[in-house]
Every structure is written in structure tokens, then in C-alpha cells.
């Protein structure tokens, strides 16, 4: 894995946001060494699509998300937004595009200014961009707050008077108020309790429909990513392993790393014994001196000599399903994770899909 290549990208005119051969490196003090945070990653998202980026800590998923926003500008590669290369764009022109691209962060409480009232927090983008004032400003802020399930009557309170889940709703309102086209969600539910997590995931789905958003959803929890994504990219140590539609990825993981990730998820069902043999040994290597060839080879059960020599490229193995591996797992037959996954699927009946609820309503 851990390969490069651009075979998995769709036609440039179809993508709203697309990055090609993205490289982000950070210097290590004055030693001359570099942290290879993101190494040659290419991803794209069509309008209205949710792209899920998943991987363990240190795999570069947050850095990728921030590089898309030019925070900071990447070391190399291109980031195309509606066909324009943001990396080459002068600062003033980039700033004009900022209202169309917003971010939601992991910790909702620390990403809100504790000294400001919720109304002012959500109104600030409108004031900065002079999009509204007076009664119209109030109306737009209140409507956005209502959409995310916050009663505008409490908008004169400050963030500490709200719970974590409500603060995340306020962050979402702040991101939505300018009616952006793209929102980068960086671990938006990792700091929340499971019951609140479900509320926020449902809210993001509703808001995506209401505001016709394109989302880049970054998370370490595969089940969460599967729930919201239209396409999932698995990352490891600054490289892409596998890109696929979520249901296919989870049913037929082709990359050994994806299979290992899937089998390490604890399942809330005692009939499924936690697997002992598929647990990945060792730890993620240092991004300062990443392994040669395939970066996953040091922990890969299928690694051969070739993996140390030649870096695998992204190649297609199914409809919309791409993998960067010299020895991918077969879609049928015995493979790590597959039997367990099949057992999981058999054990839990499929649940009916409820129709979308109008935004802002909570039901039991």
C-alpha cells in the first residue's frame, strides 16, 4: 500500500474539489530531517458527495484535510477547486474563495470563543463578508441556528452554558451561515458520547441535503465513516491504501491494512468473538523515515521482497474500487476479516432506512 497514482480520480470536470499528488512535509527543527506527513496523495469529491478519509492517528488524514483548505499551503501537488489551482492562487484571491469552504473541528468547546455570545459567533462570518446586517442578519443567524437544532431564544448565552453536542451544533451553524459549497469535517464526532454522536451524524446528513453540500469527512472510526460517506479513502502513513464505495469497501476489503482495521473494531455483539489472529502487530513507523516501497510492508502479513523495492500504484479491481497493493486480498475466498465480517453481517438484521426528517427536529 501505501501507494501513489491517480487511476482512482474521476474526470477533472466532474470533481468539485480534487487534489493531485499532494505532498505535505514539515521540517524537524534545524536537523534537515522532514516529517513526511502526506506523500503523493490524490483524492477528489464530486458535488454533493461525501468523501470519507479514514486511518489511524499519524496517517496524515487531518493534514490532508487542512492542505485542501491551504492551511498551510502544501509542499507540493495541486488542489483544484472548480478547476482553479488553489496552491498557485495569490492570497487575496484565495481569500475570496474562503466563504465557499468551511471547516468543523474535533473539539467543539475549544473551537468556540468562550467570551462571545453564540449569536455573535454565528453572525461573525456574515459581518466580516458584509453579507447581511440589521434585521436580515438576525433572521439569517436565527434560521441557521434553528436548522441545526439550537433554539434562537438561547443565542445570547455563551458556549460554556451548552453541552458538547450543542457546541458542535453551534460550530456547524457557524460553518453553514455563509452557505458554503464544501465543508471539511475533521473528526467532528470523536469527542462526543455515542448518543450525541448519532444526533450530530444525522444532523450532518440533513444539512448536506438542505444546503447541497460536499463534505470531506475525516475520522478514525470506520463505522462512523461508513455511515456518512459516498466514497471512502483509507490512509496509512501519508499514503492512500484503498478507495472504494463504502458498502463495497467493507464487504470486500482488498488491502491487508483495510482488512486489519475492520477486524480490530469491537462489535457490540457478544456472539462475535474478538479476533486474536487478525490483530495487527507492531506500531505505525516514524513518518520521518518511512519504510521504502510500500509503507505498510513492515506490518503486513502478506509482504514479499517486492514490497520493499517497488511502491504499489493505485489500480482498479472493481467498480469504483481501487487498491494500492501488489498482493491484494481476493474479493472471494478465504481472507482475513472476510469470514468475520460475513458473520457480523449474518448476526445483525439489516435495519430499515427511515425517511429523512425535517432539519431541526428531534425525534425518538
Amino acid at each position: 500500500m501505501a501507494g501513489s497514482g491517480t487511476d482512482h480520480l474521476r474526470a477533472p470536470q466532474d470533481a468539485l474539489i480534487r487534489c493531485e499528488n499532494l505532498v505535505v512535509e514539515f521540517p524537524v527543527g534545524k536537523s534537515g530531517l522532514k516529517v513526511h506527513a502526506v506523500s503523493d496523495i490524490s483524492i477528489d469529491a464530486k458535488p454533493g458527495e461525501t468523501l470519507g478519509l479514514v486511518g489511524e492517528s499519524g496517517c496524515g488524514k487531518s493534514t490532508t484535510g487542512r492542505a485542501l483548505m491551504q492551511l498551510p499551503r502544501p509542499t507540493g501537488g495541486r488542489v483544484l477547486y472548480q478547476g482553479r489551482d488553489l496552491v498557485q492562487l495569490p492570497g487575496a484571491e484565495l481569500r475570496q474563495l474562503r466563504p465557499e469552504m468551511q471547516m468543523i473541528f474535533q473539539d467543539p468547546i475549544s473551537s468556540l470563543n468562550p467570551r462571545r455570545r453564540v449569536f455573535d459567533i454565528v453572525a461573525e462570518p456574515l459581518r466580516i463578508w458584509k453579507r447581511a446586517s440589521g434585521a436580515e442578519l438576525t433572521e439569517r443567524v436565527n434560521r441557521t441556528l434553528e436548522n441545526v437544532g439550537i433554539d434562537p431564544a438561547v443565542a445570547d448565552r455563551r458556549p460554556h452554558q451548552f453541552s458538547g453536542g450543542q457546541c458542535q451544533r453551534i460550530c456547524i451553524a457557524r460553518a453553514l451561515v455563509l452557505e458554503p459549497k464544501v465543508i471539511i469535517c475533521d473528526e467532528p464526532v470523536s469527542a462526543l458520547d455515542v448518543s450525541v454522536q448519532a444526533q450530530i451524524l444525522n444532523l450532518l446528513e440533513d444539512m448536506k441535503a438542505t444546503y447541497k453540500l460536499t463534505l470531506v469527512f475525516i475520522a478514525h472510526d470506520l463505522a462512523v465513516v461508513k455511515n456518512v460517506s459516498d466514497r471512502v479513502a483509507v490512509m496509512y502513513l501519508g499514503k492512500l491504501c484503498e478507495v472504494a464505495p463504502p458498502d463495497d469497501l467493507y464487504a470486500n476489503p482488498a488491502h491487508p491494512y483495510t482488512a486489519a482495521l475492520l477486524s480490530s473494531i469491537p462489535v457490540p455483539d457478544p456472539r462475535i468473538r474478538p479476533s486474536e489472529e487478525n490483530v495487527l502487530g507492531g506500531e505505525i513507523p516514524s513518518p520521518i523515515a518511512p519504510p521504502s516501497g510500500c509503507r505498510f510492508r513492515t506490518r503486513c502479513p502478506r509482504a514479499q521482497d517486492m514490497c520493499a523495492q517497488v511502491e504499489p500504484k493505485m489500480r482498479q479491481i472493481g467498480l469504483g474500487h481501487y487498491v494500492a497493493c501488489h498482493f491484494p486480498l481476493e474479493a472471494t475466498g478465504p481472507k482475513p476479516g472476510a469470514a468475520q465480517l460475513a458473520a457480523k453481517r449474518a448476526a445483525v438484521p439489516a435495519r430499515p432506512v427511515a425517511p429523512p426528517r425535517p432539519p431541526g427536529t428531534q425525534a425518538f
Binding site: A198, L262, D269, P274, V279, V348
Partner: protein, 374 residues
């Protein structure tokens, strides 16, 4: 002060045939400026040798306070702790910290959530492990070092001899948690408290650490109390599960019975709100509306009633006691338990009314499955 008050085989009152740990109606309240927070409000359970109990709950449910209260690790001031913690026949609630020192480490020990803050950053790992070996087992330096080496290799740390001379910041999160586990296991405790031991770790490392805990527990015939917010973590790794809500156990059952036959609406709601790999993507998740109650002024009736879709007038008035289910050892606090005809009736009443007795809105479900349950 005599050493080994409880640890010695001849300690007065100590009965090796008694249940390992019996917690009887323990309460832990904190005095604050706003009033008394009833963090743990009457919890009882029993733990036998070599068994694992999973304690599950959301933030603020009292699960961490419970484990600290049982171990006597509470701040000295502004705490009210009542009830009994009976360890091998001896009630240790009245013990002062000098007496507890004979229990901490050698009889019970704890693995905390964050391995960075639970290790001392300015002491070498070797010294942190040997500290309790000197203290409890009176080992000399050489013996303690050899034991520390053996412990580190048993928890799967590569090059253990070199690690003894390192500081915590030189290790990764997973390796640090292995060191914390080695320290906790050093004096051969009979009970290991693991308070969210894997919450700060990545999912692949989480699997490694959970397997390690299970293997060590098996080898040492140790009992374990696994505290977590993740039902997935305890599902495959505990003999029984206690679900906590607002400082109380609201459902307690053998693990298989809990998942196969959920009775408490809160447990059901918690299970339904977890996104699962088996669901197709974009599956609508069931949510639990509202927020947990204020533990300073808990509601009069059932504490979950304001968020429960089955809530009836009785739930607001009367607090349900822990009731026995049909399955042995399965208890729950609910007047209208999930899966019962009363529950179905209550739910239908609420759907017709469009709201529960507490005024929370209820929507009709989309489909009814073959089992007759919604």
C-alpha cells in the same frame, strides 16, 4: 501501623472463601457550591475470582467515580461515601489511606485512561515498576529489576531491558499503556480496574491492549472491572455487564442475556445509536433526544423518563426499583421493560398521543419487524 492488614493470610476477618468483592449500596456524593452532586447513588454488585464485569455508561453516568469509590481513590474533602465494599469478607470502606496502601497494588490495582498522565514523566520506567515491588513484596534491587524485566516482556514490549532505562515520553501511546498495565500487574493483584483503558488509543492498538488484558487476566486468574463507554469493547470480553445511568445501575445481566434480551429502554436506545459496520451507508441512526439529568436535583421518578420513548405517567411519579427478569441474574429498572406487552402498549399509547408522558415527541416507526417489536 502493622503491615499487611488485609494482605496476609492471617489477617483478622479475612475469609478466602467469601466472594472476592461485594459492593453493597455504595453512594458517593460530592458537595459543591451548587449543591450535592449524587454521582453514584446506591450501586451494588458482586465480583468473583477470575470474572470480568463491564461497567458501561456515557460521560457523567458515574462509572469512573464508582470504580474510584470502590478502590478508595477519592479526594479527601467534600465527599460523602456510604455503603459497603467487602473485599474477601472485610469491609474496607472505613479504611484510611495507610490501611489502603496494603490493598492498592497488591490486592487491587487500576489502569487509567490516559497513559501519558498516569505515568510520572520524570522517572525512568524501570523505577516506576519496581517501586511497588519494593514496597509490597520487599524485593531487593536485583530481584525487583529481574521481575520488572519479566513483566515488560510479558506485556509485549520489545527490547524490555532498554525500555527500563527510558522515560515515558520516549514511548508511543500503546507502549505507555502496556507499561501502565505492567505496573498494575506487578504485585499480582486479585482485581484489576481498567477505567477506559483504550479510549485514548487507536483502534488497532486498542485491539492489542484488550487482547493483552484478557490474556493476563486468564494467566493470573484475576478478576477485572472494565469501565467503558463503548458497548463494543465489553461485548466480547466480559462475563456480565452493568449499564449505568445518572449514578445508578439501570440494567445488569450476563453479557449474552443483555444483548439477546435487552429490557431497559436506555440500553436499547444506546445500542441503536451506535453506527454499525453491517448497516448500509447513510442508514439513519436512532438518537436519544435530550440530555442526562442534573445529578444535583435528579428527577423524582425514573431518571431516564424525560428521554424515554415509552415514558408513562407512572415513570414520572415512581422510581422503578431493580427488578428481576425471566433470565437468571438479569435485573433492570423499568416499569415498562422492552419486549413486554406493557411496553408495547405504552409505546402505542405514546405514538397515538404523539408524545410521551414527559412531553417528548414520539414519531411512529417506519416498519414493524416480524417479532412484533418496533
Amino acid at each position: 501501623m502493622s503491615r499487611k492488614v488485609v494482605s496476609g493470610p492471617d489477617a483478622p476477618g479475612r475469609d478466602p472463601n467469601a466472594p472476592l468483592l461485594r459492593v453493597v449500596d455504595i453512594k458517593t456524593h460530592f458537595k459543591t457550591e451548587r449543591g450535592t452532586v449524587r454521582a453514584v447513588d446506591g450501586v451494588s454488585f458482586q465480583l468473583d475470582r477470575g470474572r470480568t464485569i463491564g461497567i458501561v455508561g456515557e460521560s457523567g453516568s458515574g462509572k469512573s467515580v464508582l470504580s474510584r469509590s470502590v478502590m478508595g481513590l477519592l479526594p479527601g474533602r467534600n465527599v460523602i461515601r456510604e455503603g459497603h465494599v467487602v473485599y474477601e469478607g472485610i469491609d474496607i470502606v472505613g479504611f484510611d489511606s495507610h490501611q489502603m496502601r496494603n490493598i492498592w497494588g497488591s490486592e487491587m490495582s487500576m489502569v487509567f485512561q490516559d497513559p501519558m498522565t498516569s505515568l510520572n514523566p520524570v522517572k525512568k520506567i524501570g523505577r516506576q515498576i519496581t517501586e511497588s515491588l519494593h514496597e509490597h513484596l520487599q524485593m531487593d534491587k536485583q530481584e525487583a529489576n529481574d521481575t520488572a524485566l519479566a513483566l515488560l516482556s510479558s506485556v509485549g514490549i520489545p527490547e524490555p531491558a532498554a525500555r527500563l532505562e527510558e522515560y515515558p515520553h520516549q514511548l508511543s501511546g500503546g507502549m505507555r499503556q502496556r507499561v501502565v498495565i505492567a505496573i498494575a500487574l506487578a504485585c499480582g493483584p486479585k482485581i484489576l480496574f481498567a477505567d477506559e483503558p483504550t479510549t485514548a488509543l487507536d483502534v488497532t492498538v486498542q485491539a492489542q491492549i484488550l487482547n493483552l488484558l484478557q490474556q493476563q487476566q486468564h494467566e493470573r486468574h484475576m478478576a477485572m472491572i472494565l469501565v467503558t463507554h463503548d458497548l463494543g469493547v465489553v461485548a466480547g470480553r466480559s462475563h456480565e455487564i452493568a449499564v449505568m445511568y445518572a449514578g445508578k445501575i439501570v440494567e445488569h445481566a450476563p453479557t449474552n442475556s443483555l444483548f439477546a434480551n435487552v429490557r431497559m429502554p436506555y440500553t436499547e436506545a444506546l445500542l441503536n445509536s451506535i453506527p454499525r459496520l453491517e448497516y448500509m451507508s447513510h442508514t439513519r441512526l436512532d438518537i436519544i433526544g435530550g440530555r442526562p439529568p442534573d445529578l444535583i436535583r435528579p428527577p423524582r421518578g425514573c431518571s431516564f423518563a424525560p428521554r424515554c420513548r415509552y415514558a408513562q405517567p407512572r415513570c414520572i411519579e415512581e422510581e422503578p426499583p431493580l427488578m428481576e427478569g425471566d433470565q437468571p441474574g438479569h435485573t433492570y429498572r423499568c416499569w415498562y421493560p422492552v419486549g413486554s406487552p406493557e411496553n408495547l402498549e405504552a409505546y402505542q399509547r405514546n405514538i397515538v398521543a404523539g408524545r410521551t408522558a414527559t412531553g417528548a415527541p414520539v414519531e411512529a416507526p417506519v416498519t414493524i419487524d416480524a417479532g412484533g417489536r418496533f
